[in-house]
């Protein structure tokens, strides 16, 4: 039999998780965070977790809070954060979606060359490469110099082997 009763820490976790888009929309409009999408998302998630932690602290004042409720609440908030991250990443980094948006703005037929040129409001397709490459260099996975890219050991190699393992495990025939 399924028991549908729910504890206050879990209700609070769901409520704070549900409010995440509100914090995100508000933080995205702060001048200091303008255009810094990853920081906006990080701070909105932290606001949610901080609010929930404050609730737990308040609830602990009026009675014991079970560790199992804290664990479930944390998992609920983490799950919601991952779902938001998936949607938000699609909106802010989606390659295919950006092509659709370029077609919408053009309001007429576009050749592949025109699409590549107007991608990301005129920054062009090369932006994808520069953006992804700078991320990989910052993460110390790749080193660049004299027009050559080199995979760094051990981190880059570990990531490549793990990625290859994931593709093999999932049986994916095509990626990227």
């Amino acid at each position: 039999m399924l028991d549908f009763s729910i504890t206050p820490p879990l209700i609070a976790a769901i409520a704070f998780a549900a409010l995440n888009p509100v914090w995100l929309a508000a933080l995205a409009r702060l001048p200091a965070l303008r255009g810094r999408n990853p920081l906006q998302f990080l701070f909105s998630s932290l606001v949610g977790f901080a609010g929930w932690s404050a609730f737990l602290w308040y609830a602990a004042g009026s009675g014991p809070v079970l560790l199992s409720d804290v664990l479930l609440g944390f998992m609920a908030m983490a799950t919601a954060t991952l779902v938001y991250l998936e949607i938000w990443a699609l909106l802010s980094r989606g390659y295919t979606l950006s092509l659709l948006l370029a077609l919408l703005r053009a309001d007429g037929p576009m050749s592949p060359e025109m699409l590549a040129a107007v991608y990301r409001r005129g920054e062009g397709l090369g932006w994808v490469f520069r953006h992804r490459l700078s991320g990989l260099v910052k993460a110390r996975l790749i080193a660049r110099g004299n027009g050559t890219l080199v995979l760094k050991a051990p981190l880059g190699v570990v990531v490549a082997v793990a990625y290859k393992g994931c593709i093999a495990f999932l049986g994916l025939k095509r990626t990227g």
Binding site: L72, L104, P112, L141, G156, Y163, G171
Partner: protein, 159 residues
């Protein structure tokens, strides 16, 4: 915490089933992974009834979705990440290095760009006409929704 163990086990079973399904099916891997997560979630309460055990719905749901959503995040990165493709490509080249231009041409301009345009056409979002790519009503709806969401979250540029 029996429900957490059951939820985690169901989540891991879902991961295994996706790996199995992807080897047999030809449909979109992303759609298969998503549908599989929903099916596994529906099987979970049925299992509780069949085993005649008492379990918390919320504990079961939260623990299952925690594993399932974490897996979907990893799956999404493995399936679609351009960055990871670049890392793997370098790993498989002699000396684990390559000219920047070769990687750019191979993964971003040719492979990535062409495959994305293919996805747009296959999904019925756009059609390829003699003059070029043209949005279809379905693609226009999706693009308008995305544009509205980008505006709501002050995302000025994407890609």
């Amino acid at each position: 915490m029996f429900e957490v163990v059951l939820g985690f086990a169901a989540g891991l079973a879902h991961v295994g089933s996706v790996a199995l399904i992807l080897r047999c099916a030809t449909a979109s891997p992303a759609a298969l992974a998503t549908v599989s997560s929903l099916v596994a979630y529906l099987v979970l309460p049925a299992l509780v009834y069949m085993l005649e055990i008492r379990a918390s719905f919320w504990a079961l749901s939260v623990s299952y979705w925690f594993v399932a959503v974490s897996f979907l995040m990893v799956f999404g990165a493995v399936y679609k990440s351009i960055s990871l493709r670049m890392v793997l490509d370098l790993h498989e080249r002699p000396g684990r290095s390559a000219p920047e231009a070769a990687i750019k041409a191979g993964y971003v301009e040719a492979d990535g760009f062409e495959s994305r345009l293919g996805v747009i056409v296959e999904s019925g979002f756009a059609k390829k006409a003699a003059e070029g790519y043209l949005l279809l009503p379905k693609g226009r709806r999706v693009a308008r929704l995305a544009a509205a969401l980008q505006q709501a979250f002050a995302i000025e540029r994407s890609g």
